[in-house]
Assembly symmetry: C2
Homo-oligomer: 146 residues x 2
DNA sequence: GTTTTTAAGACAAATTTTATCCTAATTATA
DNA sequence: TATAATTAGGATAAAATTTGTCTTAAAAAC
């Protein structure tokens, strides 16, 4: 029940991009800085591009930039860009995977946990990760609103 | 980010045992009833035994029974009996896996999500799954205490 | 047209998951 | 005490997934 290394890489890569403050970076630079294998990083950036999280430019002055501000990109989007929809157990996504019954008694638990996970991942945006801030809605540190 | 099929099997198997209301069951019976491959089921029952969740008896009248009441066995224990400690990302468990820094900005997120998951899984006991009840502490259905 | 970059798909290695098989140990009972 | 029924544990194997690499093409700058 872990994220894959690829997902971890993807978060690092896009976080690096977010840190460039609007400037672009090429795969080689991202790969070097974040210590992810170059060709693997290339594949990851392609996935992030397909998911609409980054803009790609080909050619000599090409590279990648964020497609939105760091405030508008969530961990959930990054994870799902790499791994597809979160499901915890196969039965949450694939209706035909519970061969024996329409759904067993445990099924609602997986759905509940999936929803929990989705909400939590959605609450973290790139800028919060960069600034080490708690996610929206969290007020456990005792800070109060202005 | 899914539980393995083995874990799913394990939950089915122990749930079947819980349904036997104190009576024992042999691997063959569990395997047949829950449609999990016989030798694989045998391995799973061994893991549940090592984790102290079930009692095993060898020999002619042998088999498995629960080692506690269904109220006292949580989903968390079953998952961890099969998969080991929950971690979401390798860095949550293995301190040496973040090569570059002591821990990155994302690390606390994984810890938080791990904790969330652990709490949720702990809140579900076998009897709640059998009776399709919400976990302890949940009162979203509007029922009130007597 | 040459160089630098991304795009995409095929391929390959490594690891994990999902099993199976075999031998031993234990227990009931004929 | 021999036999049958069961679990215990380790070795092995097959399948699937993860983690990469390689090659060719397309695009853009100069």
């Amino acid at each position: 029940m872990q994220i894959t290394r690829e997902t971890d890489y993807a978060i690092r890569c896009i976080l690096y991009l977010a840190g460039k403050d609007g400037n672009s970076a090429v795969v080689g630079e991202i790969s070097r800085d974040q210590a992810v294998p170059r060709t693997f990083a290339a594949k990851i950036m392609q996935k992030l591009h397909k998911a609409g999280l980054v803009v790609s430019t080909r050619g000599v002055k090409g590279g990648y930039t964020l497609n939105r501000t760091p405030e508008e990109i969530t961990l959930l989007e990054i994870v799902e860009a790499i791994e597809g929809p979160i499901s915890i157990n196969i039965c949450v996504i694939d209706k035909n995977s519970c061969e024996r019954q329409p759904h067993c008694n445990v099924h609602p638990v997986w759905v509940e946990i999936r929803d929990l996970l989705v909400e939590k991942l959605r609450s973290y945006t790139l800028d919060k990760l960069i600034n080490n801030n708690p996610p929206s809605g969290d007020n456990t540190t005792g800070r109060r609103r202005a």
